[in-house]
Amino acid sequence: MTGLKPQIRHPLTVAIGALIAAAIVGLGLAATAGAGPVEVIDALVEGTLGSRFAIGTSLNTAAVLMLVAAGFTVAYRAGLVNVGGEGQLCLGGIAATAVGVSLPAGLPSPLALTAILIAATVAGAAWASIAAWLRVHRGTSEIITTLLLNFIGLALVVLMVQEPSLLRQPMTSSETLPQSEALPAAAHLPLLGLHKNPATIAIVLAVILVAAIGIMLRHTAAGLRLRAVGLSGSASARLGVPVDRTAFVGLTAAGGFSGLAGGLLVTTAPFILADGFSSGFGFSGLVVGLLARGSMTAVAAVSLLFGFLVSGGINLQLAAGVPASTITVVQSVLIIFIAGAAWWTTTKPKRPQSLSAGTQLADDHTKEVSA
């Protein structure tokens, strides 16, 4: 009995439980749109694994989600919740486009891509650093500031692609769409080279980064400091950890990863910046981060799942006539279940191995009672 409990409380168990519950809700919703469970699952599988094209698109989406979620996890270790993935991603996309369209012709592709992706990372980090600065120096809740910065970021994209003096493509007729010029070929992310498969090296890059962050969090001093700051600011300060700097860097890094994700989006087909270029990946990435609960393996796994779900959702509408937004509802239901399950994983039995658990608890109570 006692041997089973830790497993029930394991993040993975909770995530799977929440997924099953959300799937049931999703199937119920689809049923109200007139599609039976078998039909829905068929359409989903068709849209995700049914063609090479579908698989490739799913992998590209997964790469973006992975990066946003990895950033979220880094900040979360320091006790900060980065809700601003979307805004940071927008800024990354803007910076990538600005650099991409102004690159000198004839620049080799690796150099061009490096410049673009660095610009995207820096822009995303800078955007998050606004919230990080406010948090550290003014004590403003980063949940509020990062959330609100999303809307500014989204509006900036619209401004950039609407305004000819900024990033809008040259107006040749009244039908010129409000979007940026396409990035030159040197700025296109190389494909993985699979037959008829649009998957780019983004997924490779994302997996490498996720692995690197996993190692950083578990096996470096920086990772331990991040954790210490997240668990107890006052004790960390006493023990010589630069609490403010660690928190600032944690949240800024989260922005950097989201910014990089934005850069990857514009360097993937159709290679343009337009309103809605991100399709809410910043928010989906946040969901992935919440679901993964700090485990980088889970970040990779859940990102892949979500990547496939998003592609599947599009086919769901085409094949089964179920609105694609059902997938969004399923994602939202997931968040609610995960949040509801939070007490389950975080309220561990108090000091399970304590040799004198009774007296220890008594001590704590005395402290609460004393005034």
């Binding site: 096996h219 331990l224 400091r225 006052s234 300060a237 008594a362």
Partner: protein
């Protein structure tokens, strides 16, 4: 609840408030147990006790915020069982809380009118009431002033006036002097006297004996939730109250080996000069505190809690920047240094609040021990966890820590073993020069207490300057070379612990009689 204010008629023969066997349990802790006491009409009754003795629970029981699970109370002879503060107020019991409940952006008048029934605030009646209160008790408040602009003393006056507007018979003051400066305390004591002269009773909760001597007619001492004594101040000397408050623990053995006499010309390892700390609300926590400890010397700070010890420790550990003054180790100024720089200078700190500052419960023993010197464990950019574990295993063996492994979360250990981990980490600070130990033995069992004290002695024998604060005088006498007493933000006296009258001398200083 059927009692109304009309029923509460002061009666000089029976007690105004009588508590009989009142008890209250929170979780597994008996916060109050069989408390029996009576408050006479027209008197100031002090409830004395250390932090956690149950004073506030007692007060909250009378005011209706806590409902006792055993015993009964009578107010002016009638059964009294308040279910909430409204019941208490209707019955004629008012309370001024330790933390003020005024809205700083509103005026005094608006604050006083808050919570009044009715659609239109009775402003005219308020001004006549204020005039009456100013008249009878000398309590004047500026009704038009904004609360945020007032001093702490003035805010407390507003709180007391707010309580008096209900025309109570019994006024509960919870730690009213904690935030006041000496002149404000004098004014408060004068107010208490005026209330008593008007036939009202005051219950004053405090842990400061000096005030009791000046304000109270009677005192009741609580220790661990039970009444351990008390009586009329005329009959019970202050020193007896102090003894009751701190309890008589078994006298600890003096250092087994006579401690090396300290060399005066080695110079001070730790020097504190003219430290002053003003709290954000303007009250003074520390005033011109000076202290100098030579290497190899152990100095204790005795004193009832709340006299500035905690603030001094915070200034030393770097958690609280002092308003003025300097802190130096071996002549190097560390007043504005970060905790990491202090550790680098050889300062070890055993914090008062182990859970908040001494350790990170979720991290392992090895991680907790290595935290201040992670840079030493870096190998190819990664943490050398194997070495962290070996070092922690050594500490576990050396300090006899009962733990399953170095990887066990420190939160899974018992309090004594957690404290040993903190001690092991701090005393292994490279180039140890100064040890600051705040209440290092609080909550530990006798065996662990002896161990901690032995380790502090050993650190001093190795040449470190050691500063210990404790509310247990016997413990300080057992471990220290000399003891100074914290009283109202200053350090007074310097009692050598080898003097036979040391305990009495410290006790007298703690009452503030000589201050």
């Amino acid at each position: 609840m059927t009692i109304t204010a009309d029923h509460v008629v002061p009666d000089t023969t029976t007690a105004l408030l009588a508590m009989d066997g009142v008890g209250k349990t929170f979780g597994t802790v008996r916060a109050l147990d069989a408390v029996t006491l009576s408050v006479k009409p027209g008197s100031v009754h002090c409830i004395l006790g250390e932090n956690g003795a149950g004073k506030s629970t007692l007060c909250n029981s009378i005011y209706g915020t806590v409902s006792p699970d055993t015993g009964r109370m009578r107010l002016a002879g009638a059964e009294y069982r308040p279910r909430n503060p409204s019941d208490a107020l209707r019955a004629g019991v008012a309370m001024v809380h330790q933390h003020f409940s005024l809205i700083p952006t509103m005026t005094v008048a608006d604050n006083l009118l808050l919570g009044r029934d009715g659609f239109r605030p009775p402003r005219r009646r308020l001004s006549t009431d204020l005039a009456r209160i100013a008249d009878s008790y000398g309590l004047t408040v500026d009704a038009k002033a904004t609360v945020g602009d007032l001093t702490v003393g003035a805010r407390q006056r507003v709180e007391i006036v707010k309580a008096l507007l209900r025309d109570p018979q019994l006024i509960l003051l919870d730690e009213p002097t904690a935030v006041l400066d000496p002149t404000e305390i004098d004014a408060l004591i004068a107010t208490c006297a005026a209330l008593v002269a008007d036939g009202k009773s005051v219950v004053l909760i405090t842990h400061k004996l000096g005030e009791v001597a000046r304000a109270a007619d009677e005192a009741t001492v609580l220790r661990a939730g039970t009444v351990v004594g008390g009586g009329r101040l005329a009959d019970v000397p202050l020193s007896a109250l102090l003894e009751l408050m701190l309890g008589d623990t078994e006298p600890l053995e003096r250092a087994r080996t006579p401690r090396r006499s300290t060399n005066a010309d080695t110079g001070a390892a730790l020097r504190v000069d003219g430290i002053g700390v003003t709290r954000s609300d303007g009250s003074v926590a520390l005033a011109d505190v000076g202290l100098s400890i030579a290497g190899g010397e152990i100095v204790g700070i005795a004193g009832v809690e709340g006299n500035g010890q905690s603030e001094l420790i915070e200034v030393l550990s770097g958690a609280l920047p002092p308003t003025n003054g300097t802190v130096s180790i071996d002549g190097a100024d560390l007043t504005g240094a970060s905790p990491a720089q202090r550790t680098g200078a050889g300062l070890a700190v055993i914090p008062e609040d182990r859970h908040a500052e001494g350790m990170i419960a979720e991290l392992s023993i090895a991680e907790n021990i290595a935290m201040p010197r992670l840079a030493d464990y870096r190998r190819w950019g990664l943490l050398d966890r194997a070495r962290m574990r070996t070092d922690a295993a050594k500490a576990i063996a050396e300090y006899k820590i009962r733990a399953s492994s170095p990887d066990a979360p420190i939160g899974s250990l018992s309090g004594g073993n957690q404290q040993k981990v903190v001690l092991a980490r701090e005393l292994s600070t490279a180039g140890l020069r100064v040890v600051v130990a705040a209440q290092p033995t609080r909550g530990l069992d006798a065996g662990a207490v002896g161990f901690v004290l032995d380790r502090l002695r050993a650190a001093a024998d190795d040449g470190a300057a050691v500063l210990v604060t404790s509310s247990e005088i016997d413990e300080l006498i057992a471990v220290c070379d000399r003891i100074v007493v914290a009283y109202r933000g200053t350090l007074t006296g310097s009692v050598m612990t080898d003097s036979p009258t040391a305990a009495t001398d410290v006790g007298i200083l703690m009452t503030g009689v000589c201050a």
